[in-house]
C-alpha cells in the first residue's frame, strides 16, 4: 500500500465511524441509520457478485445465498439457541459449501447461460423456502431475538443489543465493521495472485488453462467466496429485521446486487459499495416524490447508463483512453 491509499482508508474509516454518526446526531435524521445499515449489508452481498464478475461470470443469483444465509442464522438462533454472532460465520460457511455443490455443474456455463441459471437459482431458493418444513413456509420465522452478548473470558466484546439504549447505532457499527472487513478481504484478493489469476480467467479461459491454471477449481473457489459474502449479509439482515420470509430476498434483489456492481464499475473493487450507496440511497431519497418515485428512479438510472456505461468510477479513469 502506498501513502495515498493509506490516507484514503483512514479518511474512509473516520467518515463512516465518526463523521456519519455525528452528522446524524446533529441533524436528527435517525432513520438514516437504518438506510445506511442496509447499504452496508447490501454492499457486502454486492461485493460477492462483483467477485464473480471478476472471473467473467454474470451472477444474478446472490439473493439465493442471502436468503439461505438468513435462514441458517434464523434456524440456529431459534431452534438450536445459538448466539447470533456465531451464526454469522456459520451462515457464510453453509452458503460457501452450498455454492460448491451448485457451482461445480453450473460454472461450466458461460455468458448469458450462466446469468440465466443464476437468476433461476434465486427463484429456486424462494420456492424451496416455501416448501421445506424447517423454514416454516410462507409464514416465515419471526420474533427472532436481538443479538446477545458476546464475551471472551468474562470480558464483554459485544454487549447484548436488547440492553442498549440505541440498538440502531449498534447495528450500524456492526454492519459497517463487517463491511470494512469484507472489502479489505476483497481488496487483498484482487491485489494478490489469486486476483491476477481471476483476471486471467475473465479475459481468456483457454489461455488461462494453457498456462497451467486449474480453471474449474478457481471458478468454484471465487464463487464460494462470493456466496460466503452473500450468506453473512443475509444473516445480518435477519438480526436487524428480526424475521425472515421466503420473499425476504427475491429475484429483484438479485438483479439489484448485479446492478450495484455495474453502476459502481466492474473494474473497481469499491465499485459495488458506491453503486449500492447510490442506488439504495437514491431510491430512498426519491421517496418524497410519491407515485413518481419509480419513474424518476428508472429514468435517472437509464440516463446514468447512457452517460457512464462503464460505471460511475470510470470518470476517474477517463484519461486512459482505450482503443
Amino acid at each position: 500500500m502506498n501513502i495515498k491509499q493509506i490516507v484514503g482508508v483512514v479518511v474512509f474509516l473516520l467518515l463512516v465511524f465518526i463523521a456519519v454518526p455525528w452528522a446524524i446526531a446533529s441533524s436528527g435524521r435517525w432513520d438514516f441509520y437504518y438506510t445506511l445499515t442496509s447499504v452496508a449489508l447490501l454492499s457486502i452481498a454486492s461485493a460477492g457478485v462483483w467477485l464473480t464478475f471478476y472471473i467473467g461470470r454474470i451472477n444474478i443469483g446472490q439473493g439465493a445465498y442471502a436468503l439461505a444465509g438468513g435462514y441458517v442464522s434464523a434456524v440456529l438462533i431459534m431452534q438450536v439457541g445459538m448466539n447470533f454472532w456465531f451464526t454469522i460465520p456459520l451462515a457464510g460457511i453453509f452458503c460457501a459449501l452450498l455454492s460448491v455443490l451448485i457451482g461445480v455443474p453450473i460454472l461450466r456455463l458461460r455468458g448469458v447461460y450462466f446469468a440465466m441459471v443464476t437468476l433461476v437459482l434465486t427463484e429456486v431458493m424462494r420456492l424451496a423456502a416455501l416448501a421445506l418444513p424447517i423454514t416454516n413456509g410462507a409464514k416465515g420465522i419471526t420474533s427472532i431475538p436481538l443479538p446477545q452478548e458476546l464475551s471472551l473470558f468474562g470480558l464483554t466484546l459485544i454487549p447484548d443489543f436488547s440492553t442498549l439504549e440505541n440498538p440502531k447505532l449498534a447495528f450500524y457499527f456492526a454492519a459497517v465493521s463487517i463491511m470494512v472487513i469484507c472489502y479489505a478481504v476483497l481488496w487483498r484478493i484482487v491485489n494478490s495472485r489469486l486476483g491476477h489469476l481471476c483476471r486471467s480467467l475473465q479475459q481468456n479461459e483457454e489461455l488461462s488453462a494453457s498456462i497451467g491454471v486449474h480453471t474449474a477449481y478457481l471458478r468454484v473457489l471465487a464463487y464460494s467466496i462470493s456466496s460466503f459474502f452473500g450468506g453473512i449479509a443475509g444473516a445480518m439482515f435477519v438480526a436487524i429485521s428480526q424475521s425472515i420470509y421466503p420473499s425476504s430476498f427475491q429475484v429483484a434483489d438479485s438483479i439489484n446486487f448485479m446492478l450495484n456492481c455495474f453502476l459502481g464499475g466492474l473494474g473497481y473493487v469499491f465499485g459495488p459499495m458506491l453503486g449500492t450507496l447510490v442506488l439504495y440511497f437514491g431510491w430512498d431519497l426519491l421517496f418524497t416524490t410519491g407515485r413518481y418515485q419509480l419513474l424518476i428512479y428508472s429514468s435517472l438510472l437509464i440516463a446514468l447508463i447512457l452517460l457512464l456505461p462503464n460505471g460511475i468510477l470510470s470518470i476517474f479513469s477517463r484519461k486512459e483512453k482505450r482503443s
Binding site: 495472485r193 489469486l194 486471467s200 479475459q203 494453457s210 498456462i211 497451467g212 482505450r322
Partner: protein
C-alpha cells in the same frame, strides 16, 4: 538424445467424420519438429489432441513415458507441455508485463492463501516472477512495449507476446500453433531465428504446426506431413522436399502457397 513426446495411433472422430486417423510419431528431446499439411488436413485437431484441448477417440500421447492425452489442459501444462495460440489469444486488458508475470503461475511455490496473506515465500515468488518476466521480455525484444495494454498491440508483437506467455510457464516442450501465419518475409525470418533461439539458448523442444513451407524447411530438424487426417510422410526437410506423396498432396489441394 531421448524421446520426449510420443504420439501413438491417435484418432479423433467428430460424429462420422474422421479428423485425425491413427497418427503416430515421436519427438526427440531438443529438436524442432514441424507438422505440416494442406488446409483442412487435421493439423489443428492434432495440435489440440496433443495439448489435451480435445479428447482423443482412441490412441495416446505420452510425455516422458506418462500418458497426457485426455487429461485437462492445465494438468498437461503442469507436466511441461505448453501450447501457444494463433493470433490474438492473450490477456487483452493486461499490460505486456502483467501478461508475462501472471503466466508464471506454474512456478509458484507459495499457496494461494500464502499469496493472500503475503507470506515470505509468496513475496519471494513475486520477485522471482518479476525478474523472470523482465528477462523473457528482453529475450523476445519486447522491452519498449512492456507497459502497453495488450489489446493495443500490432499483430507481430502479439505473436511474440503469445510466445512470452508460453515461456513464462517454463515448458519442457512448447507447441506453437502456426507461428508464421500472416507474416511477411522479414517478419517470418525474424520469427525463424526466435524459434531457433528457444531451442539453442533455452533448451526447449519445439513442436510446431504450420503451412508456410519455406519457413518450415528452414527451421525444422524433422517434418511430419499429414493429409486427410493421416500421416503420409516423415523425415528431414530434404527427404520431405523430394517425397512424391507430399508433392502430390500439395499439388492436389487448392492451396497454392506451396513455395517448393
Amino acid at each position: 538424445m531421448s524421446t520426449i513426446l510420443e504420439v501413438d495411433g491417435i484418432t479423433k472422430k467428430y460424429g462420422g467424420l474422421v479428423a485425425v486417423n491413427n497418427v503416430s510419431f515421436d519427438v526427440t528431446e531438443g529438436e524442432i519438429l514441424s507438422v505440416i499439411g494442406p488446409n483442412g488436413a487435421g493439423k489443428s485437431t492434432l495440435f489440440k489432441l496433443i495439448s489435451s484441448f480435445v479428447r482423443a477417440t482412441s490412441g495416446t500421447v505420452n510425455f516422458k513415458g506418462d500418458r497426457i492425452s485426455n487429461l485437462t489442459p492445465h494438468t498437461v501444462a503442469r507436466k511441461g507441455v505448453v501450447r501457444t495460440f494463433q493470433e490474438t489469444t492473450i490477456f487483452r486488458s493486461m499490460t505486456v508485463r502483467e501478461n508475462v508475470v501472471v503466466s508464471h503461475h506454474l512456478r509458484s511455490k507459495a499457496s494461494l492463501l500464502g499469496f493472500f496473506f503475503g507470506s515470505n515465500t509468496a513475496r519471494a515468488d513475486e520477485e522471482a516472477f518479476g525478474r523472470s518476466a523482465d528477462e523473457i521480455i528482453e529475450f523476445l525484444g519486447l522491452e519498449s512495449i512492456s507497459n502497453e495494454v495488450a489489446s493495443n498491440l500490432p499483430q507481430g508483437h502479439l505473436r511474440a507476446l503469445g510466445m512470452a506467455i508460453g515461456l513464462a510457464t517454463d515448458p519442457a516442450i512448447l507447441l506453437l500453433d502456426e507461428p508464421f501465419a500472416g507474416m511477411n518475409h522479414d517478419e517470418t525470418m525474424r520469427m525463424v531465428n526466435l524459434v531457433r533461439s528457444l531451442r539453442d539458448e533455452r533448451g526447449i523442444t519445439v513442436l510446431l504446426v504450420e503451412h508456410d513451407m519455406p519457413a518450415v524447411m528452414k527451421i525444422s530438424d524433422r517434418i511430419v506431413v499429414i493429409n486427410f487426417g493421416e500421416k503420409i510422410a516423415e523425415g528431414s526437410p530434404a527427404e520431405i522436399q523430394s517425397n512424391e506423396k507430399v508433392i502430390e498432396a500439395y499439388l492436389g489441394s487448392d492451396d497454392d502457397e506451396i513455395g517448393l
